[in-house]
Amino acid sequence: MLSRVGESIYWMARYIERAENVARIMDANYHMILDLPSGVDEQWEPLVVTTGDEERFKELYAEFTRENVVKFLTFDPRNPNSILSCLQAARENARSVREWISSDMWQQVNSFYLMLKDASRRDGSIELPHEFFVEIMLASHLFVGLSENTMTHGEGWEFARLGRMLERADKTARIIDVKYFILLPSVEYVGMPYDHIQWAAILRSASAFEMYRKRYGQIAPDQIIEFLLLDTEFPRAIHHCLITAEQALRNISGTKRGLFTNPAEKALGRLLADFDYTQLEEIKMYGLHEFIDSLQTRLNHIGSTIHETFFALPLAPAAAPSQPTE
């Protein structure tokens, strides 16, 4: 497979996943606000912090109002991580690999983008936010389902899966970090319904509410953290994402479990091994924020090793490997 093609498929999947996550945290926030007691301010700033675009937001807008944040995260073309920008990027990537993905997948990315583009023309205000964000999440699920069922599960598909899982791990980590950070100082609310509502919102931000309930029953912060970080079966839990990403990577190179043949496999394998043998108590001892900070650094490092291993072949012919590495 062409390096450029592998890279485009990887980023196409990442951008779709990113768009879906942004829609989900906004939807969860809208829900939470409706349940807040009167007199409690709506919180929109954490959403921007979650996506990591605080600085850019402050350059463009004066206040973290609902209107500004929703506009910034949904339609603003100046924000490269707005849903619209993500879909534009996903579509540009898909366009350059149309001969690799199935026609159904291409049509889905294309319609998905056109849907957002249309909505952005209607002056940017969203009449029924829940419906709108659900539509976005469903469009993303449809895309993933089409990838699953209409594309050969070969190298290209594995690159898509790899991109999707790494993006998801990163976003779940951000959701936990930001919310936890914001929840902690509000000790006066602990044990009150409001606290409960916020923790439930965290779970909803990761579509994890019901699955968590089945597993643990009561809403308890420690168990929520444990579920979102360490569960191996819940599809948005970070541990699960890492297991799947590592499988994808090994399928691409054909390397057996326990071995590595390139820096990407080494970095990801090592991170996964840490997750395999980590317990919640250890994370708390280390500090949750510090743990997530280090996790994100390592995810970024994995991203760059993937780039170096598969996508950035040396430009000068003399330096190019004469034999395939396989």
Binding site: M1, L2, S3, R4, V5, G6, E92, R95, S96, V97, R98, E99, W100, S103, W106, Q107, N110, S111, L114, E155, F159, I252, F310, F311, L313, P317, A320, P321, S322, Q323, P324, T325, E326
Partner: protein, 487 residues
Amino acid sequence: MRFDDYDTGGFYDEMFDAEGRPRPGNEAVVNRFSELSLDELRTRQQAAEKALLKMGITFSVYGDEQGTERIFPFDIVPRIIPHGEWVGIEAGLKQRVQALNLFIDDVYHGQKIVKDGLIPAELIHSASGFRRECLGLDPPGGVWCHITGTDLVRGGDGRFYVLEDNLRCPSGVSYVLENRVVMKRSFPRAFDAARVLPVADYPNRLLTLLQNLASRHGAKPVVAVWTPGIYNSAYFEHSFLAQQMGIELVEGRDLVCVDDRVMMRTTSGLKPVDVLYRRIDDDFIDPEVFRADSMLGVPGLMRAYRAGNLALANAPGTGVADDKAVYAYVPAMIRYYLDEDPILDNVETFLCRREKDLRHVLANLDKLVVKKVGESGGYGMLVGPHATAEERAAYADQVKADPRNFIAQPTLSLSRVPTLIDDHFEGRHVDLRPYILYGKDIYVMPGGLTRVALKRGSLVVNSSQGGGSKDTWVVAGGGQGQGGAPC
């Protein structure tokens, strides 16, 4: 919606004869369309356009900052050619492509045709598509122009004429294939009743042709479509064809030349490429040989080509036969190389390099269409009758400054086809571009791309200038006066 008020306007109409009767082969479609209400037709037109947009069948418009993509406007009324008539066109195209290929081979070898005094040497050597670097080259099987998209027009006399040969990188075939998909979906009954010859096997034929060009035997050859990139106006088509053929779509940056072999950069190292269907001009393919400032090309590619390690379709240098002044000599080439009379005629062409022709052209600018010999796509031309006196004067200055660079043709009264405009049918001028594949034998796609000038009275069908397209149906049967099947 009925055609009762339809006015052929004194032009040759593809669907109705001068008395307003459906021409042979058109009856089924006329009947079926007459049964449908305006609302139904409009709904289907909109559904068709929506489908094309969803499939992403768009082209980008140069000079538009947003990089806007538009769908190539599509009209639902098909353009119909009875098979009996098509047979003649097909034979004429085969004959022409065969002669053109012999001409190109001659240009880069002995230039017998020059020595025998049929074409001036200077005309060939000054053609912008002539590549000195290709002298003496022998492409596989002696074929230079593997893919051709000849532009035909039908004049007021009801005869088809060749307008341009398009031997370099003709585009548009993807529209033919996708238009057909949409038409089958939108008008299954009319389609069924008309018994239309299929076009869907084109990608497979193209793939076979390309694979046969590979010099490596035994192993499955690696064939790729080479695109300038996603910002090229025909990018959709490049990726569509790669997808339909199941082969790689590469850009220059994916390729590198090592030891006279072209390789592509893959996720598991470099892999050799055997055949490139290049959708990129000669000028840009190899900065070592052609334009040194090309960012799209692959240094060393021509060395691989000369060494026989790489095949290119079409072969470099093919464009010499695309020159509009060389075009004027094609009927002579057919007689010279094949010893046959041309089946399809040229449009009468005045070469401004000839003193006598130049005087005639300058004196009749208001009646003629004047074109630059090296341009295509409707760029750089003057449609005399539609131009202002100032535009003509300015153009005349250009012609006088460089007569070799211009030719002129009479303004043709192109045939028309009914087209759905707002709430009724109006005649619109059309041309026809069939696609011809030259491999082990010559194949002509039945039908081709019918381009339609959507502006009332306009003769310019190019997509960049307000043109659209229609599906072209070559319908089975002799088509000589007998009725079609009932709807």
